[in-house]
């Protein structure tokens, strides 16, 4: 675990010692603020819980986009700059490296979520929503964001540079996102399978309404674990390919 956290700590430091971290934070908070006013509050009269559900709806999109941006550089940049050699020739396992990278992006996204807390806090102070509703929404944002980071980290592992990693990560994420559309036109049992695999629709809605299902948590944890292990295997296979 020591090496995992060593990698995570350095990577987190890199987010804040370059423009990358600040730009992602500023952009996410700026868009959060605009959408909160224009979309969540809007012109019509709404219940506080509706405003909060709307906030979580657009915040989920921002969490996914931020996830792609955060993860696209994690391995691809190391390959691009040649610093990946340091890991290949040091006593650190591929799993420690991948999980370390993942933890760094996860911590960064948590910071991002914490910085956006003032928006639901405004609803809590001025309206009537439960802390449980806010907590379940944020749990969803963390799980969804982590899933996107995991998917894009895999894209970063198999891509030669950041640009390709970003495009590939976005492609994977969007594919996972629109599976529910395919589910709409598919016949059973594929309908159920595609609907279950979709990253947003079926698993997202209960959280945004303040309802937490264990099966949804298990789904997101499975996605995270699956793509992290895919990244580990892809990195291990590199030694053979050369």
């Amino acid at each position: 675990m020591g090496k995992t956290f060593l990698v995570a700590r350095r990577e987190l430091g890199a987010f804040f010692s370059t423009w990358m971290g600040y730009v992602i934070c500023a952009a996410a908070l700026f868009i959060d603020g605009i959408l909160f006013n224009a979309f969540a509050i809007g012109k019509e009269h709404r219940f506080s819980s509706e405003v909060l559900a709307n906030f979580f709806y657009f915040a989920s999109g921002i969490a996914m986009v931020a996830g792609v941006f955060l993860a696209m550089r994690l391995l691809a940049e190391e390959k691009q700059n040649g610093t990946i050699v340091l890991f290949y020739t040091s006593p650190i396992s591929e799993r420690q490296l991948i999980y370390g990278k993942f933890i760094s992006a996860l911590v960064f996204s948590l910071i991002l979520h914490v910085l956006s807390l003032y928006l639901p806090a405004l609803i809590f102070v001025n309206g009537k929503v439960s802390l449980g509703h806010i907590a379940s929404g944020y749990l969803m944002l963390v799980l969804l964001g982590s899933s996107t980071i995991s998917i894009s980290l895999f894209a970063s592992t198999i891509s030669p540079n950041q640009l390709v990693a970003g495009v590939t990560g976005a492609l994977f994420t969007v594919t996972m996102l629109v599976l529910w559309m395919l589910a709409d036109i598919a016949s059973p049992p594929f309908k159920e399978i595609l609907s279950y695999l979709a990253i947003h629709n079926q698993h997202f809605t209960p959280f945004s309404q303040g309802i937490v299902h264990t099966k949804d948590i298990i789904y997101y944890l499975s996605v995270i674990f699956f793509f992290l292990e895919c990244s580990v295997r892809a990195l291990e296979a590199r030694r053979w390919r050369g």
Partner: protein
């Protein structure tokens, strides 16, 4: 300390290295010499557990690169052709990070980082960001990260690449200072540096190990082919014909004499030692033998001869 047996690495459509076999003893400094693309880096990457061989075996410190790469990674320090540096970190924090990555116990990290900076003359710039360092300093940091955990084996891929003459001398001194304490294998395509730094040389060409030994040993491999520079007082076409007709002469060039010189220089290449026959012939021709010098092949000669195109070998 390092054993390679029939090491082969194949990529689709080509062999990067082919049946390479060699042994390196503990404490030796060994140079891999070859043209760009000869396969030097591939050998080093396999020894550094960076790549898996397609066939053959490699062992470092008794551990196999196939079966126990993590054990080898604890034993080695590796400098790739481009130092793996994070531009946003400063020298001290980077070396501290690398030391931890290399499993140096926490209590020893500070002392080992100080030692590595001292050996590589980096103490003065320890607070400077890596991105602001000159190429020479970056290369030094690359060496420092390779030795910070005081590994038994140090692998250096083109360590003097891009350095200016002063930096080359410093780098050479640094590498030779590692002799005895560490086993060093380094690659270069610069002959003079390999000669000055290494105890032994492995010459690689088109993925194959074509010669190995010390500079003297390699030069003596070419002793069979002699190169002679001869000075005569009177040169004639008859002498030229008779010299060229001697059995064993492979090449003869007459170097034109200057107006101020009474002497004529002849350059001869022969298979075997023909010096007595040549001198006898010149004396019989009454050409006036003024001098005969055997030209040493030198490492450059060995290298150029060994790596000439396959069809000429």
């Amino acid at each position: 300390m390092i054993i390679a047996e029939n090491l082969t690495k194949t990529y689709p459509g080509r062999k990067a290295i082919d049946n390479v076999t060699f042994t390196i003893r503990g404490g030796e400094i060994v140079g891999l010499l070859g043209l760009n693309g000869a396969g030097k880096s591939t050998i080093l990457k396999i020894l550094g557990c960076f790549l898996m061989p397609s066939a053959g075996k490699a062992q470092v410190g008794g551990f196999s690169v196939d079966e126990n790469p993590q054990a080898i990674r604890r034993l080695i320090g590796y400098l790739p052709d481009h130092p793996p540096l994070y531009d946003e970190m400063n020298v001290h924090s980077y070396l501290t990070y690398v030391a931890r990555l290399k499993s140096v116990p926490s209590s020893e990290v500070a002392s080992k980082v100080d030692h590595a900076m001292g050996v590589t003359n980096l103490t003065k710039v320890k607070e400077v960001a890596l991105g602001e360092l000159s190429h020479g300093f970056r290369q030094r940091v690359g060496i420092a990260q390779a030795i910070v955990h005081q590994p038994k084996v140090i692998i250096l891929d083109e360590p003097i690449n891009g350095l200016d003459p002063v930096q080359i001398v410093e780098m050479r001194d640094l590498i030779t200072s590692l002799r005895g304490k560490h086993t060093v294998i380094l690659s270069s395509h610069i002959l003079s540096e390999i000669t000055k730094t290494c105890d032994r040389i492995l010459i690689v060409d088109q993925g194959q190990l074509i010669a190995e030994g010390s500079e003297a040993e390699l030069s003596s491999q070419l002793a069979q082919q002699q190169k002679l520079s001869i000075e005569v007082e009177t040169f004639s076409e008859s002498l030229q014909k008779k010299l060229a007709g001697l059995p064993g002469i492979t090449n003869l060039k007459v170097q034109g004499s200057s107006e101020n010189s009474r002497f004529q220089k002849i350059y001869l290449e022969s298979q075997g030692d023909l010096r007595s026959k040549i001198s006898e012939l010149i004396v019989n021709e009454k050409a006036g033998l003024l001098g005969m010098v055997r030209l040493e092949a030198g490492l450059e000669g060995v290298f150029l001869k060994l790596i000439k195109p396959v069809e000429e070998r």
